[in-house]
């Protein structure tokens, strides 16, 4: 118990003193996760809407694949990306191994299916109705699409937040492709894993507090918007 209390005390001191190393780690985490969430969203929303609205041959398989990918273990995403971008791999010439870019790529692989799946589900339920509504009110295709996105905005928002939550909290993929390099690819999750390993509880708890706090804010925003419904 004493360990924990000391740890928390030390953590608060570190945070308040704006320890550069810790804040560097925090910002890098945010940068990587927000970027990957943003890019994933660009891919996932059209994909999810398309899947929800249209039928095509082999759709069943695609959907089943999508659901599988949604619960893809992060370490696998990390492993696959690493195999591709490592110097030995086919994309080695890009020089991406152990960079934040690689981490972003791995996270994109991880959360795009999640956001797509959630948008797909929302579209599946509402899409037909909106399409029908658009038709009966005289909207053209583009207007109907805009209408659909507006109607689905809560679903989309939830999907994006969920994706972000997954990205910022995973450790396996970013550890593998990033290497937890100090000052370069060390993010909150990999830092906590390493610090615990080293017995540096104060720092680990400090970062843990920030991570929790961030989750709290993000979920607070989501909750607030959901309550507005």
């Amino acid at each position: 118990m004493r360990e924990i209390v000391l740890g928390v005390k030390g953590a608060i001191e570190l945070l308040l003193s704006f320890d550069q190393e810790i804040y560097q780690i925090i910002f890098l985490s945010l940068y990587v996760s927000l970027t990957s969430t943003f890019l994933s969203t660009l891919l996932a929303i059209p994909a999810g809407i398309f899947l929800g609205l249209f039928h095509f041959r082999g759709k069943g398989i695609v959907v089943r694949l999508l659901y599988t990918m949604m619960s893809l273990p992060p370490v696998i995403a990390g492993l696959v990306v690493f195999l591709f971008i490592s110097r030995k791999g086919p994309l080695g010439f890009l020089g991406l191994s152990f960079t934040p870019t690689a981490m972003i790529i791995a996270q994109i692989c991880l959360i795009t299916p999640i956001i797509t799946g959630l948008v797909y589900n929302g579209t599946k339920d509402k899409g037909q109705h909106v399409k029908m509504l658009g038709k009966t009110l005289g909207a053209n295709r583009f207007q109907t699409l805009i209408l659909l996105i507006c109607e689905l905005r809560l679903n989309i928002f939830t999907a994006v937040i969920t994706g972000y939550g997954r990205a910022v909290s995973e450790v396996g993929a970013v550890m593998i492709v990033g290497g937890n390099i100090k000052g370069r690819t060390r993010v909150m999750t990999t830092a906590i894993a390493m610090l615990q390993n080293m017995g540096d509880y104060s720092k680990a708890i400090a970062i843990g507090i920030v991570l929790l706090f961030l989750s709290f804010i993000i979920n607070g925003v989501l909750y607030h918007f959901q309550q507005g419904e």
Binding site: E3, Y23, Q24, I26, F27, L28, L30, Y31, V32, L34, T35, S86, R87, K88, G92, F93, G95, S97, F98, P100, G179, N180, I181, K182, R184, Q196, N197, M198, G199, D200, Y201, L214, I217, G220, V221, H224, F225, G228
Partner: protein
């Protein structure tokens, strides 16, 4: 009223976004060396990837040395800390530019197989056996500087012993000691962790058991754990570090100049002196003994 609340949350979120993007963008390694005239021109490819062991990174030596290296040469070293086995594999795969490990035999094989250009002695530290204060196997009494005797006592009393179990330099050293003692460690008391030094020390602490550790990692964690040094000083426990530049023929990405710059630098008098000074202030003893060109 309703408007205000949602506005606050939205602003918060937007702020978070902006701050982190700015902060994150500041991460780009565009820290160009200051122009003070005497500084060497910034190298074309300043990125040097070093594969080393977790125990080396955890000791803090690199945090101490590398900034000086970066200032002197303009190269930025990115340290990937893994087990010795993985570090050597990374060298073999050409994923790293330079290796700093402590497994001399494996290192020599590595160079002989053509994966590295040449191997040099850099420094050594020593291993110690640490264990619980109450020392159930009594090794502190009967074998305080005899590792073979200590292991015999541990094995006989079936006291918990946590092994690295991860093919690291420390692990290889541990296995070599068991071999010397003619014991094959087996049974519930012998725990193979498959993790880094810090983790293993934690585990030994939790299980109230013994483990073989490098002095540096133990000292850096000493404040937080209750285990004590029980066996030290046995010649067998000396741990030699070597530096190897990876063979640049492996692929286009290898920064051969950077790797060589590091090798030259760490063998230089300046670096060797720094190594000797490391730890003096905090622990009153050198954690590493420099021995390049000796």
């Amino acid at each position: 009223m309703k408007f205000k609340k949602s506005k606050i949350w939205s602003i918060l979120l937007a702020l978070l976004l902006v701050v982190s993007l700015l902060g994150g963008c500041g991460q780009a390694p565009s820290e160009s060396p200051e122009d003070t005239g005497e500084e060497p021109a910034a190298p074309e490819n300043p990125r040097v990837i070093m594969a080393t062991t977790t125990s080396t990174e955890n000791s803090g030596l690199l945090d101490y040395l590398l900034p000086v290296f970066e200032e002197d040469t303009g190269y930025q070293v990115e340290v990937v800390a893994v087990g010795t086995g993985k570090a050597l594999q990374m060298g073999e795969d050409g994923e790293a530019d330079v290796l700093l490990v402590h497994a001399k035999e494996s290192e020599e094989e590595f160079v002989a197989a053509g994966h590295g250009l040449e191997r040099f002695d850099v420094m050594y530290n020593d291993f110690i056996i640490i264990g619980p204060k109450d020392d159930p196997a009594k090794i502190g009494e009967i074998a305080s500087n005899d590792v073979v005797k200590a292991l015999e006592a541990i094995s006989e009393s079936q006291s918990v012993f946590v092994s690295r179990g991860d093919d690291s330099g420390t692990h290889k050293k541990e296995l070599a000691c068991w071999k010397q003692a003619n014991i094959e460690p087996q049974g519930d008391w012998y725990v193979e962790a498959g993790k880094g030094m810090g983790d293993v020390i934690q585990m030994a602490e939790e299980m109230n058991g013994y483990t073989l550790s490098d002095r540096a990692t133990y000292l850096s964690m000493r404040e937080n754990i209750g285990l004590e040094i029980l066996v030290e000083g046995d010649e067998q426990l000396f741990n030699q570090y070597g530096v190897i530049a990876v063979n640049p023929d492996k692929n286009d990405q290898i920064n051969a100049e950077g790797a060589q710059a590091f090798v030259d630098w760490i063998l230089s008098e300046k670096a060797q002196k720094l190594i000797a000074e490391f730890g003096q202030e905090e622990y009153g003893q050198s954690l590493f003994i420099p021995n390049a060109n000796k």
